[in-house]
């Protein structure tokens, strides 16, 4: 590595102890590259600069709020091509849309049950408290896949199909054996979002996709404990740096940082990764 003395000094200050880092939330959209593989290569290159060893990636190179079955297939094919190029460093989550239940279930079978992907991604097509999600969650659970659901509380108003943390808590209570990751944990209004998960032990709070406002990680730790908080960046839209700073800059002990940065996500993904022969 070609670190200048200054950069080496900075890294020494930020990583005074050995750290393994898994990023639970990344995308291909917004990266340079002609192919999904090239885009992922660029993402991993930047991740490596900050010591991020493994990433979860989802949603292809074009995004739609309410994707058609064909658009879902295209997005998932792109992600699959990319992660198959880096099978030990990038883990794919299949993107589904509860407004197209049959197509979504087929996508889970194709890419998770019979393919390399290890999780299910839900975005903003329909609020996740809706019963349309039940078959999707049930199949994901049968496959040992985690369900990652976007959650935001926007002062300016959510999209019609955009879930809040309360919506996810509602879904999680209906499926107590399934495992959920609350992407963004309510976003910038995390003080409200995190409270929604106090009584749902099968929901893990993920820190990605909002400004690095001080106190986020500490409050997540205080409310949920060190084993229910997961690092994610939402790169490339967000910076690995800003999001990683939420953990490295938090007033929590080093053991807690290790749990948040890798161990908690590793534990969630270990069963399905093991089934697929991926070394953890």
């Amino acid at each position: 590595m070609d670190f200048s003395p200054r950069l080496a000094d900075i890294k020494q200050r930020l990583f005074p102890f050995p750290l393994e880092i898994w990023d639970g939330h990344t995308h291909l959209l917004g990266l340079p590259g002609k192919t999904p593989e090239e885009r992922l290569e660029r993402l991993l290159e930047c991740a490596s600069r900050l010591g991020i060893g493994r990433v979860c990636v989802f949603m292809g190179t074009k995004w739609q709020f309410d994707p058609t079955p064909e658009e879902l297939r295209e997005a998932n094919e792109e992600v699959r091509r990319a992660v198959e190029r880096f099978p030990t460093r990038a883990f794919g989550f299949v993107y589904v849309n509860p407004n197209h239940q049959v197509a979504s279930l087929n996508e889970i079978r194709r890419h998770v049950r019979d393919g390399p992907m290890v999780g299910v991604k839900l975005w903003v097509a329909r609020r996740c408290c809706d019963s349309a999600l039940d078959p999707i969650v049930a199949l994901a659970h049968d496959c040992d896949a985690v369900v990652l659901q976007h959650t935001w509380i926007k002062t300016t108003g959510n999209l019609p199909g955009e879930s809040t943390p309360h919506d996810l808590a509602c879904l999680a209570r209906r499926h107590p054996d399934a495992v959920f990751i609350a992407a963004h944990s309510g976003g910038g209004n995390w003080e409200i979002g995190l409270r929604a998960f106090c009584e749902t032990p099968n929901v893990y709070a993920e820190l990605s996709g909002s400004d690095p406002t001080s106190g986020f990680t500490e409050m997540a730790m205080r409310l949920l404990g060190p084993r229910r908080v997961i690092f994610g960046s939402d790169a490339p839209g967000r910076s690995f740096a800003t999001q990683l700073g939420k953990v490295l800059g938090a007033s929590v002990d080093d053991d807690t940082k290790r749990l948040i940065l890798a161990d908690n996500l590793k534990k969630l993904l270990a069963p399905i990764l093991k089934k697929k022969g991926v070394p953890v």
Partner: protein, 326 residues
């Protein structure tokens, strides 16, 4: 220490109109501040141009106690921090806000904290606040909060303020936003500041130095590039997002206009520091961002000839970029 009563407001304003200004003593003061900064174990210097003291109105911040903030910044390798006051956002007695900021920096900073007072040009007699900051407190950089003080940058009072700063050789930091609008308390929504009017002022005051704080979400890159070609406009790293953000930023504006600024303790300090490691930058760039550009901003020492705007490589890059972005 200067007697706070040694320069009257009449004398102060009179000295401005006569062309005389206190550049000597204030520059000396700033030099003393940077010279007396504590030595850290490493060889590098790091000036954080965007730090705050006191409490953020909307949540308790761990490092909001000044002593704790100073300790954590020093531990992180910061050698000098330009501090504004979070009280500035909502307090109306700005003179008291600036006095507390000055005293807090003196008490806890030990030369490490450089106070950046606030001017609210909507207040009656704001020029007296300006005079106090410059004369009494020897401030070299002042901070504006147009969004929180309810004005736009095209009003005549902004012109007066910038004219005064231009004359006094004071650097002006303009806070474009403090929060993601999607995450604001619904009882206090504050929109990002519209920077288009700055083009006019930069043309009127060609030596004026402006630093836009937290500008990267609200100001489109092409608009930033345009402003930077008009005058001495700098930016900090606050709210710079996207992977390898510094690589992208340096393709739009010259590296000489980028200063390290963390927005701590409202944001985790480490988020800004990590940005330096996330991008691959040309040799020497880190020193420029970490302290040289801030020194240029505060000392008025242009790193390259003013005439023509920018070195040729940047002119080409910028022209191509602007053409391609329509």
């Amino acid at each position: 220490m200067t007697d706070p009563h040694s320069v009257t407001r009449r004398g102060f304003l009179g000295s401005l109109s006569a062309g005389g200004i206190m550049a000597g003593p204030t520059l000396l003061h700033f030099a003393q501040v940077t010279d007396s900064e504590p030595q850290v174990a490493s060889s590098y210097r790091l000036i954080d141009t965007h730090v705050y003291l006191f409490q953020w109105p909307f949540r308790l911040i761990h490092s909001a106690e000044t002593a704790e903030l100073v300790r954590s910044l020093k531990n992180a390798g910061v050698t000098c921090a330009w501090a504004g006051s979070l009280e500035s956002l909502l307090h109306r007695d700005i003179a008291s806000v600036n006095a507390r900021l000055h005293e807090e920096c003196r008490k806890y900073g030990d030369g490490f904290l450089v106070p950046c007072g606030t001017i609210n040009p909507m207040l009656p007699d704001w020029t007296e606040d300006f005079r106090q900051c410059v004369e009494n407190y020897k401030m070299r950089v002042l901070r504006l909060f147009p969004g929180y003080h309810g004005y736009t940058l095209d009003i005549p009072e902004v012109g007066r303020l910038l004219a005064l700063a231009h004359k006094c050789e004071i650097g002006i930091q303009i806070t474009i936003e403090m929060e993601d609008v999607r995450a604001q308390n619904p009882l206090l929504p504050v929109k990002p500041v519209e920077v288009t009017p700055l083009g006019r002022w930069l043309e009127d005051f060609p030596a004026l130095r402006l630093m836009l704080l937290n500008c990267h979400r609200a100001v489109p890159p092409q608009q930033l590039a345009k402003l930077v070609t008009i005058g001495w406009v700098y930016v900090d790293l606050g709210m710079l997002e996207g992977i390898a953000g510094l690589e992208r930023l340096t393709s739009v504006i010259p590296i000489e206009r980028i200063c390290f600024g963390s927005f701590a303790p409202v944001f985790y300090f480490e988020s800004a520091l990590l940005k330096l490691a996330e991008s691959h930058l040309p040799g020497g760039s880190l020193d420029a961002i970490c302290y040289q550009n801030a020194e240029t901003f505060s000392h008025r020492q242009p790193p390259y000839p003013r005439k023509g705007g920018f070195p040729m490589p940047y002119q080409r890059t910028c022209a191509v970029w602007l053409a391609s972005s329509g």
